[in-house]
Symmetry: C2
Subunit: 354 residues, 2 copies
């Protein structure tokens, strides 16, 4: 009976997609004692009101004896804002309906316990799967200490991402390229390697679809980077250059923020980005870095754009370098998550983890 | 008003799909003078009755003053069977409805002219596009002197057709492999190169879905072929080994039929197969021969099976070798013809010519 209201709460949560990191997406609805809608809220951005607080404030005295429907277990700890569980108790709510238990170890059922201890009826697990899907990036980051990684590429039907001479603009059509801007608007950082900067001089922004723009990250072993590059113009969007311990600091570009890692590898970079509050990261890199990111467990999803073209070329670039498999039983298997047309191209999304 | 009956005639024609070469698929319906169905027929196999003849025979005297609906212009020349146009006149048909004009230069509107000269009303072009699609292999062979070529491969989402060590069984799942047997049942010949025989020892049959099985063709420059191979057992299905002028005839396998070509290339092989009456050919070869077949205009359609897997490997096999393009403007562009799920895999068919 609560699914309908929970769908509304999920829809409210989705309004802030891509803007709440490091926090999750949360939506909330408050009904009064007779089941009438008296308040709605969603978490818009880290540091601002949690969804429950906004919905309860809107409801005011009407929340007394009412029901709170919320997509995530109310927090019970002091973060940037006071615990939501206390606000729920103060408002006189009688019943709390929850989709997903908070995977944050600081909460871990504590919010539900606190509400039940205070005598409220708590109904967890309503549309849990939908809520888990909506917050899978947050949940992944909290559970693993790494952002959820999406690896994106565009290829011809024969699996090429560039011609033998490196030419690749454009494999996909305008609709697919616009879709990439939308994809970027939902992530906290976009990662490339030095080779992509040298070869393509990319801009890597959402073209204003997200504000602020996602952090643009270059992982460079050699720091053999061009003096001039669109990424060095941090007035457009922030840029971070990450390098390993053996890089020559003389070669650092001016403009971007610099981050020295213990090793020039995807995993330490992802740990550093998670610590900065990135829930979700988009890999837009070449085959070597992409394969390393997969091998180190930093890619949870592939988003491949397939163009109705044949490019050929034994020396042509392909999406992935060595993964180190020697039998077909070992190869990585995924589950299709989405396929849809983007103009003349096909978008195929493959989920690698459950 | 004739579309409904023409759809029935097209459905009749389709009953013999893959079995009429070198002839086209043809279906026919006969209505009596009051528009009642009195006869149906289709062309089952070369050398047997044409569709019109069967339908008129079934109608008998009821055809007098009636209408013939036929998917292809009646022939007006003596082939293995007498001209159909004469049979139509003899039966006393008053009106002839035709989908597609016969592209055979020996007919070229002659059938329609002959009927009109005899005072019959002729309505051509009803469901012409559908009829052209149904007989696109026949039309292609008659117009170009080469069979229609379909190039098939199975690949992972990262565009690999084998691991770096050559392992490739199985990339696709059981549903996709069964679909390949169905695909073979609709073609006249299946072509591989010597490398595929050496690496995979394939069987290349429709597993009984077509009788006789399609001709299995090996194009081998070196004739460096294994002594034992499933293809050499011609009790299962016929096999043809084609080679160029520089091959060592000492190395010919016993069992298969042998064909010496002027050059060991896809084009002369296709011309030879067309001369033998092949309308449609399936390429199941490695990247070098596949790329050569495309370069020489012997591939009109790609049928790619895409598995939800990542294989990786810089040295791993990809679908196509050199096509010789140096800018993205030059690359081959196609039009999606079909996409459908085959178990966990996706079938994507791309048409290369109009």
């Amino acid at each position: 009976m609560w699914e309908l209201w929970m769908r509304r709460a999920l829809a409210l949560a989705a309004l802030a997609e891509g803007r709440t990191s490091p926090n999750p997406l949360v939506g909330a609805v408050v009904l009064d004692g007779s089941g009438r809608l008296v308040g709605e809220g969603f978490h818009a951005r880290a540091g601002e009101d949690h969804a429950e607080v906004g919905a309860l404030a809107q409801a005011g005295a009407a929340a007394q004896g009412g029901t709170l429907i919320v997509t995530l277990e109310p927090c019970c700890h002091h973060g940037r804002t006071p615990p939501c569980s206390e606000a729920v108790l103060r408002a006189g709510i009688r019943q709390v309906v929850i989709a997903l238990e908070d995977p944050d170890p600081r909460v871990d059922g504590g919010g539900i316990r606190q509400l039940r201890d205070a005598g409220l009826e708590v109904i967890p697990g309503v549309l849990r799967e939908e809520a888990l899907l909506q917050n899978r990036a947050f949940v992944h980051r909290v559970r693993t200490g790494r952002p959820l990684g999406i690896l994106k590429w565009a290829m011809s039907l024969d699996g090429r991402t560039a011609l033998p001479n490196g030419a690749s603009q454009w494999i996909s059509g305008p609709e697919a390229r616009q879709w990439v801007h939308r994809l970027r608007s939902g992530v906290d950082a976009v990662v490339v390697g030095g080779g992509t900067v040298r070869a393509d001089d990319p801009l890597l922004t959402s073209r204003g679809k997200r504000s602020p723009e996602p952090l643009r990250v270059v992982l460079s072993r050699s720091l053999d980077l061009p003096d001039q590059a669109q990424l060095w113009d941090t007035a457009v969007a922030p840029t971070l250059v990450a390098h390993g311990p053996h890089a020559d600091p003389e070669r650092l570009p001016s403009g971007p923020e610099i981050l020295e890692l213990d090793a020039c590898d995807p995993l330490p970079l992802m740990q550093a980005l998670a610590a900065r509050g990135c829930n979700q990261v988009l890999w837009e890199c070449g085959p070597e870095l992409a394969a390393a990111a997969i091998r180190q467990g930093c890619v949870q999803e592939i988003a491949a754009v397939l163009a109705p073209k044949l490019m050929g070329g034994l020396a042509a670039r392909t999406p992935l370098a060595q993964l180190g498999f020697s039998t077909m039983d070992e190869v990585l298997k995924g589950a299709w998550r989405q396929r849809k047309p983007l103009g003349d191209d096909w978008l195929l999304r493959l989920r690698l983890d459950g």
